[in-house]
Symmetry: C2
Subunit: 339 residues, 2 copies
């Protein structure tokens, strides 16, 4: 099959490799219908993670058709259209029952999903079947459920966003934009999107942002306070993962508020005494997507939730290097890949 | 009047100084009936805060009788018995309305309360009147409401303790013991107190602790997991403030859980990537005591809540140096002072 392989930072290729096969009775093989490039894929692409020692498959978001299942997988049938959350989990262990499927005792991440076929361990607990026919218009919205929208949702849930909350979103990538939509869906009264890019501001507004703040640092935080009657936001959703973005988040938060963070932290340090003095909390982490799908999928299917607008460009799988370049150069917000 | 003054680390004295006077129309003067020594008073006593440049009054917990009030204080009368939360606040500003009176725009800390008379700014918003007569048996329970019990309660509330929660308390000082009581009051199903001192274990058990763990570090965390069926606690209440105690807290927490912290942080550093990967949150800070008194005082008055057992020794105010020594040497859990 053809699969995306990162050979070294910046060197992304569509290679021909062996088809995956069922390795355990709990596995399934899924034929990809659509995959995509995540902001977190850019960390290794840019060489900002730990040094890469050998070529490795990449990608962790997909929707597709079940190709085969192991003998222990009774809730899926060949031909089912499924959403694959970006980590696998048995969905039965104590951590899964606590809603933290990303800490499943039998869970983990799978080999690259930017490929024609993907082996999904713990398939019964991981994959969520989409009933009925799926047309192309629905595809981006379903694909968004494999990671990007539930990740934005997790930031909002972790920060305690509820009816009437004031919310600031730091980061205008696809996750940040998803967080805007998630915050409005949870009833936020005011959502401020911090963004300096017209195309992203436009989607933020479409997703319900009430205000756009393009300044950063102390000036940006001052604008947030001006909008919110003199204080920071009840909840700040940190969707980047850098030291600067985390600092921006706490600057924009009111005393007693919570930063919900989903940007994979790179070099983040916290000013604990300042947090303590202001009763500012930090909650979030790697999003337990599986935990949210039973709630979110029906709204996507009935059209009331349309998170797929973050996909602004589509690439054929053999253009995957172009897709990465577009994400890296920020000429795409989020690149959808079709095999 | 006589007032406790810290001259330099370890040198605590009862000095004779000028009586405080009303300085603003919003002030009150309170004649102390009982005060106490806080674990946080030991930081400067031990010379562990920033270097002290001159003698300064100390103490921040008291109950007493209103001696005089400024012209803007209409809800208090001379002779009222009052509880003074350890920080003052107007109780009307936006942060107070958000329940974060410790961030009141007109708030702050007051000069030492281990004294015969104390000036309380923003008295109308700060002081809470105790109706009826106060006998000596009730005194420790009311005094505990000025700081130590609401601080333990704040740890539990911040960590989201609710009906059925599993809870581990790190720290067996008066705040940690209060946190045990607070967690049980909020409905925790299992409370584990980490303690190595028989006298404190005894109070923890009286306050409702279901288990005592005397090991520390990885061994202590392993004991916690053994008690809780293989995983860490839903909520860990960090009531010390050192790097070691915070590390212990996260070691003892399950994925998706929250550390509620009220120990004033000294040298605490957080492993943000580990927190992120396990979805472990951190919430808490300096306790907004005033926010909790309307809820807690009635239970103390009807006898259903008895937090005063943390006061195991009483000293006359002129023995204040002995009180500090006893706290420092851990021969007292919490020292009550009577002028």
């Amino acid at each position: 099959m053809r699969a995306t392989v990162l050979h070294s930072p910046g060197d992304i290729r569509l290679d021909t490799i062996e088809d995956p096969v069922l390795e355990a009775d709990t596995d399934a093989i899924v034929r990809t219908v659509a995959a995509c490039v995540c902001g977190s894929d850019l960390w290794p692409y840019r060489g900002l993670n730990k040094p890469q020692t050998e070529p490795s498959q990449i990608g962790h978001e997909l929707v597709g058709i079940v190709e085969s299942v192991g003998s222990d997988v009774s809730n899926l049938a060949v031909g089912d259209f499924v959403i694959a959350p970006f980590m696998y989990s048995d969905n039965t262990c104590v951590h899964c029952r606590n809603g933290v499927q990303t800490s499943c005792v039998n869970g983990g991440g799978y080999a690259g999903c930017q490929a024609e076929l993907v082996r999904i361990p713990q398939a019964a607990g991981t994959l969520v079947t989409v009933p009925g026919d799926v047309d192309d218009a629905m595809l981006p919205h379903l694909l968004a459920l494999s990671d990007v929208f539930p990740t934005g949702h997790h930031a909002a849930v972790s920060a305690g966003v509820t009816h009437g909350s004031t919310v600031t979103v730091v980061g205008d990538g696809a996750v940040g934009l998803s967080a805007v939509l998630a915050a409005k869906r949870l009833g936020a009264s005011t959502v401020i999107a911090m963004s300096r890019h017209a195309d992203r501001q436009e989607i933020a507004t479409r997703f319900g942002a009430d205000h756009i703040v393009s300044s950063r640092g102390k000036d940006g935080a001052a604008e947030v306070r001006e909008i919110l009657g003199g204080i920071g936001a009840d909840a700040v959703l940190e969707c980047v993962g850098t030291a600067e973005s985390m600092k921006q988040a706490f600057l924009s938060l009111r005393p007693g508020g919570t930063v919900g963070y989903v940007g994979v932290p790179h070099g983040v340090e916290l000013n604990v005494p300042a947090m303590f003095g202001r009763n500012q909390a930090l909650a979030g982490g790697v999003a337990p997507v599986r935990n949210y799908l039973d709630e979110l999928l029906p709204e996507v299917l009935d059209g009331s939730l349309q998170p797929g607008a973050v996909f602004d460009r589509t690439f054929a799988l053999d253009q995957v290097a172009d897709a990465y370049r577009a994400m890296d150069e920020r000429t795409a917000i989020k690149a959808l890949l079709r095999p």
